[in-house]
């Protein structure tokens, strides 16, 4: 069993296997399950992700609060004009990440990756890359195992909870997970996956969890959008041969320590940051008929 990214990479290298395979084998061992059982459970999660993305980019999904919804569709329409600056695949990933989180905010069905508030980044990037790379179903399922392997290390050695570690622990972790999985899908090495993870998470360090009215909507949906774009860039950087000067496990540790020193107001309590702006408070009062600031 791997306890950190260094061990994960080392095991993958010594066995000459992709990271996804190491995760599959560990899960089989833990559950006492067959490869088929473990594979099929992940395939089921993949299907849930695809349904959420499809719903988000095709339907006019709106949350109960009215704060979010419809942006994935706007972006898909904009992409059709052919005038976008950041390119088709980048915006496709962004819109599919938004789609997932809009469905989530509307109390629709999603698969947490690693959490619900950060559920858009991994599927958003995957379903955008699918258009370009045309991966097999197995490659797509493996993408989720590779993501999961990195998330597994973060969850055990740091945190994936916004209430404990801020948004860096949620969207930050999801972004690193996606970056690492993109690298494997594109034929990169386990070591390159770890660099992609480190580069992605480094650029999310310090990100606070400050949801307006305590809802997983503003700014969560758009942070997933930026997480998806960050993951693609980090993966490209790593595939180009760029390495992280700070090793992956130390970046994860830094994230953990930053989370521990983050004030409670910035850890999913709706007491600080964007939640405490005049507009944030106004929206909150409008939604609940009362401000959460009463205490």
């Amino acid at each position: 069993m791997f306890r950190n990214v260094a061990e994960l990479v080392e095991i993958a290298q010594s066995k000459n296997m992709p990271i996804s395979e190491i995760m599959i084998e560990q899960e089989m061992d833990f559950r006492g399950s067959t490869r088929e059982q473990v594979y099929n459970q992940m395939k089921n999660n993949l299907e849930v992700m695809e349904q959420a993305v499809e719903r988000g980019i095709n339907e006019d999904v709106r949350s109960h609060s009215g704060l979010t919804g419809g942006d994935a569709v706007l972006l898909q329409n904009y992409m059709k004009t052919g005038n976008s600056l950041s390119g088709h695949m980048m915006l496709d990933a962004v819109s599919k990440a938004i789609a997932t989180n809009e469905v989530n905010a509307a109390m629709g069905t999603i698969c947490a990756t690693p959490t619900a508030g950060s559920a858009g980044v991994v599927p958003g990037t995957l379903f955008a890359i699918r258009e370009k790379v045309k991966p097999t179903e197995e490659q797509m399922v493996r993408y989720l195992f590779t993501s999961g392997a990195f998330g597994f290390v973060v969850a055990n050695n740091a945190s994936i909870s916004g209430a404990a570690g801020g948004c860096q622990a949620e969207v930050g972790s999801a972004t690193g997970m996606a970056a690492a999985a993109i690298v494997e899908l594109m034929g990169g090495t386990p070591e390159q996956s770890s660099h992609a993870f480190a580069i992605a998470l480094k650029n999310m360090l310090g990100l606070v969890c400050d949801p307006v009215a305590g809802l997983v909507e503003v700014p969560c949906v758009k942070r997933n959008a930026m997480g998806a774009s960050n993951a693609l860039v980090a993966a490209d950087m790593s595939l180009a041969g760029i390495t992280s000067r700070i090793p992956c496990d130390e970046v994860i540790d830094a994230m953990y320590k930053i989370g521990q020193t983050m004030p409670s107001a910035l850890r999913e309590t709706a007491q600080g940051g964007l939640a405490a702006t005049p507009t944030g408070r106004e929206l909150e009062a409008k939604i609940f008929g009362v401000s959460l600031d009463r205490k």
């Binding site: 069993m1 069905t109 690693p114 619900a116 916004g162 949801p211 305590g214 709706a270």
Partner: protein, 220 residues
């Protein structure tokens, strides 16, 4: 290690919007329901920390009640759980507590009917994963690092042996075990941490043993 399965990370499949505040909350409610063993007449829930501050926006309240109604994290009935509870004439009460708890996402769930009551304290540690830290006044003191089950049983000879024999038969090794009771010969509680994930069929088998009242898995 608190997280042992890749499906703790890629998963659960769930109704939004928050894995800790919605899916985790549903799981806390559901563990309470399984230990209570039936649908209660009244549900009182005290919320602490981030749960207390943000429960309305995250649907923590509907999810907790949905869990007590035995709905899984992906059950679409969660969205209407408060209405459904009302239709079933179940009394529901939420209180927001100011007390500082060790974990920011803490809920104290009290279930009651004519035959009895149960009080459980659960924490939601991220990604939908939960831990139960207190049951009917017993601090559980689980490490959270291993799969664990709770067994409510009658304080009689052979009850503990029956459970351990069943686990042994399925080649499940017990790493840590604690037995507590409040009064001799009355209700008692086994807290068992094991090395492997315990399949549902084993739990069902344990539940059929003599003097076993309820069995629930609290972490895997």
């Amino acid at each position: 290690m608190k997280f042992r399965s890749v499906f703790d990370i890629i998963g659960p499949v769930m109704i939004g919007p928050s894995s800790s505040h919605t899916a985790g909350a549903a799981r806390i409610g559901r563990v309470a329901r399984h230990l209570f063993g039936r649908e209660p007449k009244s549900i009182t829930i005290s919320l602490y920390g981030s749960f207390a501050r943000t429960y309305k926006g995250h649907g923590t309240d509907v999810a907790l009640i949905g869990g007590v109604l035995d709905y899984d994290t992906f059950d679409e009935r969660i969205v209407n759980a408060l209405t459904i509870a009302k239709e079933k004439k179940i009394k529901v009460r939420f209180t927001e507590e100011d007390a500082i708890t060790d974990h920011p996402n803490t809920a104290r769930v009290h279930l009651k009917d004519d035959q009895g009551e149960l009080e459980l304290v659960g924490i939601s540690i991220g990604g939908g994963k939960i831990e139960v830290i207190e049951l009917n006044g017993f601090a559980l003191g689980l490490s959270g690092n291993s799969p664990a089950i709770l067994v409510v049983h009658n304080d009689r000879f052979g009850a503990i042996a029956g459970v351990s024999n069943t686990l042994a038969k399925h080649e499940i090794n017990i790493g840590h075990m604690n037995v507590s009771r409040k009064e001799k010969g009355k209700e008692a509680l086994m807290t068992i941490e094991v090395d492997q994930n315990i399949p549902q069929i084993v739990l069902d088998e344990v539940e059929l043993l003599p003097n076993i009242i309820q069995v629930a898995k609290i972490s895997d």
